[in-house]
C-alpha cells in the first residue's frame, strides 16, 4: 500500500545508545524547514537498555497518525546490520533501505541461546531491491568520532527523500550542540556521498 494522504514516512531502527533519536530530530527539523506538518514517534523507557529501538518520522501537508503503516515507509534506515530485517515489513516495495554494516552481538547470542544470522548481506540483498549497505560506523571513526555514525546514516537516507539539499545543513545546525556542528556536517556529507 502507498502511504495515506501523500505523507512521507521514514522508519529508523537500531539498538539503544546508537543515537537514533538525534537522527530523527534532525530529519524532523529538515521537514519542518520545508514547511511540512511533522509527526514523530520514539521509544523511551525499558527498551532503551540495549534493546531494539525504533523511531518513526512522518511529514507532509497534513499528518494524522504518528505511526508508520506497515508497507508504506519511503526509507528504512537500520543502524545495525541484521536489525533491518526486523523492520523490513515497514518499507514500501519501492522504498530505499539504508543499512549500517556494523554488527552488535546481543547477549542472547553470546550466551548461546540464539544465533546471529550468518549471511546478513545476502539476506539484505534478497530482501531490499534498493539497498545502500555500508559501514557507517567505520566512516564515522575515519571522520573522527564513532558517535557520528547516526548522522552518516542520515546523510545516506537523505538521498531517498525529496527534501531540498540546503535544509539539511540548517537542520543540523539547529539540532546538534554547537561544538559538534562541524563534525556532524562532515558526517552527513560523507553519508550522502555513499548513495548515487
Amino acid at each position: 500500500m502507498n502511504d495515506n494522504n501523500s505523507c512521507t514516512s521514514v522508519f529508523l531502527i537500531g539498538v539503544g545508545g546508537q543515537g537514533i533519536l538525534l537522527a530523527s530530530a534532525i530529519l524532523s527539523q529538515a521537514a519542518m524547514l520545508c514547511g511540512c506538518d511533522v509527526k514523530t514517534n520514539e521509544v523511551h523507557g525499558m527498551a532503551q537498555r540495549g534493546g531494539t529501538v525504533i523511531a518513526q518520522v512522518r511529514y507532509g501537508k497534513k499528518v494524522y497518525s504518528p505511526l508508520v503503516t506497515e508497507g508504506s515507509a519511503r526509507v528504512l534506515c537500520s543502524f545495525e546490520a541484521a536489525e533491518a530485517l526486523r523492520a523490513a515489513h515497514y518499507l514500501a516495495p519501492d522504498g530505499l533501505a539504508v543499512v549500517n554494516q556494523y554488527q552488535i552481538i546481543p547477549v542472547s547470542v553470546s550466551s548461546g541461546m540464539a544465533t546471529y544470522p550468518e549471511h546478513v548481506e545476502e539476506l539484505l540483498k534478497k530482501q531490499f531491491p534498493r539497498l545502500c549497505y555500508f559501514d557507517a560506523t567505520q566512516k564515522a571513526i575515519e571522520i573522527g568520532n564513532p558517535r557520528t555514525a547516526n548522522v552518516v546514516l542520515l546523510g545516506a537516507l537523505s538521498k531517498g527523500l525529496e527534501l531540498e539539499e540546503s535544509v539539511w545543513e540548517e537542520a543540523i545546525r539547529k539540532t546538534v550542540k554547537p561544538q559538534f556542528i562541524e563534525i556532524n556536517l562532515k558526517a552527513f556529507a560523507a553519508g550522502r556521498a555513499t548513495v548515487q
Binding site: 506538518d37 511533522v38 509527526k39 523511551h44 540464539a114
Partner: protein, 577 residues
C-alpha cells in the same frame, strides 16, 4: 512560534502557560518527561519528585486548596497507589485548578499491566480528558484546569504512550498568571467527617449532572460530518488513526469522554447508518452507547488488548467491508534474528548481585526497576514481581507461610523509598527472617535517572539531605544491616552465605552508582587474553553485553566495557585483565 514537542513536553508547556504553581509526581514511563520539562520553568513553577504517587497526589491536593493551580503526574499504575486521596478529593473538591496527569501504556511497552485509567474517572465521578496529539495535550491541560476551577473537581488528563512520546507541532503561547488567594478555613467544605461527607456526596452527584451537560457542549468533543454510511466515535489517539484509514467517514471525536456527552452521542448516532466505537483497551464508551439503547460495533471487531495502530484500523475496515484482511507481518527472514530484549548495561552494579545470588538455591521475590532485568537469561535470578514495594512484603509473606527455602527480597533505592519501608517495618514488627537486598544506585534509573530522596539533589536543582537506608532499617527494628559494594563479588557471596545461615532478618544495602548516571564510575575496558582463555564460558553466564561471543571466540568489546571487573573475578584461569 511553532515547535515540535512530544506530548509530555507539550503538557509541561501547558502547565507553564496556564499559570500552574505546583507540579509534582513520581516517575513512570510514559509520564516521566512531563516533570523533567516543567523543571525548565522552575522560576515560575515549583516542581518536585515525591517519594511516591500517593504523597505526590496529596501534595498537589494541599497546594490546590491554597488556590494554587497544581498538577500531579504519574503512570497508570501510579494511580492505584494514589487512589485513596483521589477517591476523597473528589468529595472535598478543589480551589485552584487540579489536574492529575495519568499516562496509560496500551501494549505494555514499559509496564507490568495494561489497566485503563478511564475506569478511575467513572469510579471517582470526575472528568477525564484524552488528547490525541501534542497541541491537544497542551490545550486539554489548560481546559482541564479551567473545568477543575469552575466545577471544583479534580480532573484527570489521560495520555497514552503514543501521545506522550509522539512529537507534533505546537503553537506556543504566553503564560497567564493565576495568583493563589491562600487557604480559607471552611471545615464543612474540607473535612469529610460523616456529617459533612454526606452533603459532599450529594454535591458529587449534582456536579456530575452539570458536567454531563458541559461535556456535550465542550469543543473537546466535536462531530466532523462526512459520509453518513459509517459514523465512528473515536476516542483519544484513535481519532488520528481513524482519520488516516477512514478519511471519508463521519467522526465523533471524543477528547472528553467522561462524564459521557450523551446529547452529542445521540445526535451523532441519529445522523449515521452504522456506528462504530474505536477506543483503546476497555469498552468504556461503547458500553455506555449501548446503555443509551444505541446499537453499535466496538470490541466485537476492535481489539481490547494492546494498542491500536493504522494497521489495526485497516484490519477493522476490512472486517466491516468484508474484504481480505491486509497481511503485514514481519518478513520470514526476521525469524532468523536473535531476540534483543533490554539487558543490564555493561558494568551495571546490579549484575553482580544476581551473579552472586546465582550461587544459592533460594527464592527471590523481586520488584520493579532496572534490577528487574535480573530475571532474564542467563542470570535467571528473580522469581516473582508484583508491584513496587512488593519485593519486600512478598518475601515476608513467603517466610510466614513456611517456605522452606531461604527467601531473598530485592528492591531498588527508589522502590525502597516509594513503598518498601512499610514492608520492612512489617518484617521487623511481625518477625520474619528473609534477606532483603536494596540495590542502591542512588538514582531512579529505569525511568531515565531521576533523583530520589537518596540522591542528595532535588528536581529544583537544590542539594538535599541523603536519606539513609541503614537508618530506616534500624528504625524498622532490623539488627543485621550491611552495606557492601556489589562489584566485590566474593565478599557479596560470603555475606549472602553468612546471612542465609542466620535465623534473623538481614538487610544488605548493595551500594554502587549507576554507571549511566555517574560516568565517573566507569573504568578502562578489560581484555581477554586468548592464550590463557580456555573457552569455559563462565564469563558469559553473567550476561554482560560487552562480552561478545560468536563462532567460539570470546572477546570484550572495548566500546562497551566499563571495567567493573565482575568477569575478571569469575574467570577461574585469570584470562581477563
Amino acid at each position: 512560534m511553532k515547535e515540535l514537542l512530544s506530548g509530555n513536553e507539550a503538557i509541561a508547556r501547558g502547565a507553564y502557560e496556564a499559570g500552574v504553581r505546583v507540579a509534582v509526581g513520581y516517575p513512570g514511563t510514559p509520564s516521566t518527561e512531563i516533570l523533567e520539562n516543567v523543571q525548565r520553568y522552575k522560576d515560575k513553577i515549583y516542581c518536585e519528585w515525591s517519594p511516591n504517587e500517593k504523597v505526590a497526589f496529596e501534595t498537589a491536593a494541599g497546594a490546590c486548596l491554597t488556590g494554587a493551580r497544581s498538577i500531579v503526574t504519574m503512570k497508570h499504575v501510579g494511580l492505584n497507589v494514589a487512589a485513596d486521596p483521589l477517591m476523597t478529593l473528589t468529595y472535598v473538591g478543589t480551589e485552584g485548578g487540579f489536574v492529575a496527569i495519568v499516562a496509560d501504556d496500551p501494549g505494555m511497552h514499559s509496564s507490568q499491566n495494561e489497566q485503563d485509567t478511564r475506569n478511575y474517572a467513572r469510579f471517582a465521578k470526575i472528568p477525564i480528558l484524552e488528547p490525541s496529539d501534542s497541541e491537544e495535550a497542551r490545550d486539554f491541560l489548560v481546559t482541564g484546569l479551567d473545568i477543575s476551577e469552575k466545577f471544583k473537581t479534580p480532573v484527570i488528563l489521560r495520555t497514552t504512550t503514543r501521545v506522550s512520546h509522539s512529537r507534533s507541532l505546537v503553537e506556543l503561547k504566553e503564560r497567564i498568571e493565576h495568583v493563589p488567594q491562600g487557604f480559607k478555613k471552611n471545615p464543612p467544605q474540607y473535612v469529610p467527617i460523616p456529617a459533612w461527607a454526606r452533603p459532599m456526596r450529594q454535591r458529587v452527584e449534582k456536579r456530575l449532572l452539570a458536567l454531563t451537560e458541559e461535556s456535550s457542549n465542550s469543543p473537546l468533543n466535536r462531530i466532523e460530518w462526512g459520509e453518513r454510511q459509517l459514523g465512528i466515535i473515536a476516542v483519544g489517539i484513535a481519532y488520528q488513526y481513524a482519520k488516516e484509514i477512514f478519511p471519508e467517514a463521519s467522526i465523533l471525536k471524543l477528547g472528553w469522554c467522561y462524564p459521557y456527552p450523551d446529547k452529542l452521542i445521540r445526535e451523532f448516532a441519529a445522523g449515521v447508518k452504522r456506528l462504530l466505537v474505536v477506543e483503546e483497551l476497555d469498552d468504556f464508551v461503547e458500553e455506555h452507547v449501548k446503555a443509551l439503547g444505541i446499537p453499535c460495533d466496538g470490541k466485537n471487531i476492535v481489539p481490547n488488548i494492546g494498542e491500536l495502530s493504522p494497521l489495526r484500523l485497516m484490519e477493522i475496515r476490512a472486517k466491516i467491508e468484508g474484504t481480505a484482511i491486509p497481511e503485514h507481518k514481519p518478513i520470514k527472514d526476521a525469524s532468523l534474528l536473535p531476540p534483543r530484549p533490554p539487558v543490564l548495561c555493561p558494568s551495571c552494579p546490579h549484575r553482580s548481585i544476581f551473579a552472586a545470588l546465582g550461587r544459592f538455591d533460594v527464592v527471590v521475590t523481586g520488584d520493579i526497576g532496572c534490577y528487574s532485568l535480573g530475571v532474564s537469561a542467563p542470570l535467571n535470578r528473580m522469581d516473582t514481581i508484583l508491584c513496587m514495594g512488593g519485593g519486600i512484603s512478598m518475601a515476608h509473606g513467603m517466610k510466614i507461610a513456611g517456605e522452606t527455602k531461604r527467601v531473598v527480597g530485592i528492591v531498588g533505592d527508589s522502590t525502597f523509598f516509594h513503598s518498601g519501608i512499610t514492608g520492612l517495618l512489617d518484617i521487623g514488627y511481625n518477625k520474619s527472617a528473609p534477606v532483603i537486598i536494596v540495590a542502591d544506585n542512588r538514582i531512579t534509573a529505569m525511568t531515565g535517572h531521576q533523583d530520589n530522596p537518596g540522591s542528595g539533589k532535588t528536581l529544583m536543582g537544590d542539594s538535599a539531605y541523603q536519606a539513609s537506608i541503614t537508618d530506616f532499617a534500624k528504625a524498622c527494628g532490623i539488627k543485621r544491616i550491611f552495606t557492601i559494594d556489589p562489584h566485590n563479588f566474593n565478599a557479596m557471596v560470603a555475606l549472602l552465605k553468612e546471612s542465609f545461615e542466620t535465623p534473623e532478618p538481614t538487610v544488605i544495602i548493595a551500594l554502587s552508582p549507576c554507571v549511566v548516571d555517574d560516568r565517573s564510575a566507569l573504568r578502562p575496558a578489560l581484555k581477554i587474553d586468548p592464550t590463557i582463555c580456555k573457552h569455559c564460558k563462565m564469563c558469559l553466564k553473567v550476561g554482560c553485553p560487552a562480552i561478545e561471543s560468536m563462532d567460539n571466540t570470546i572477546k570484550i568489546n572495548p566500546l562497551l566495557c566499563g571495567g567493573c571487573k565482575l568477569c575478571q573475578q569469575i574467570c577461574k584461569f585469570g584470562a581477563i585483565s
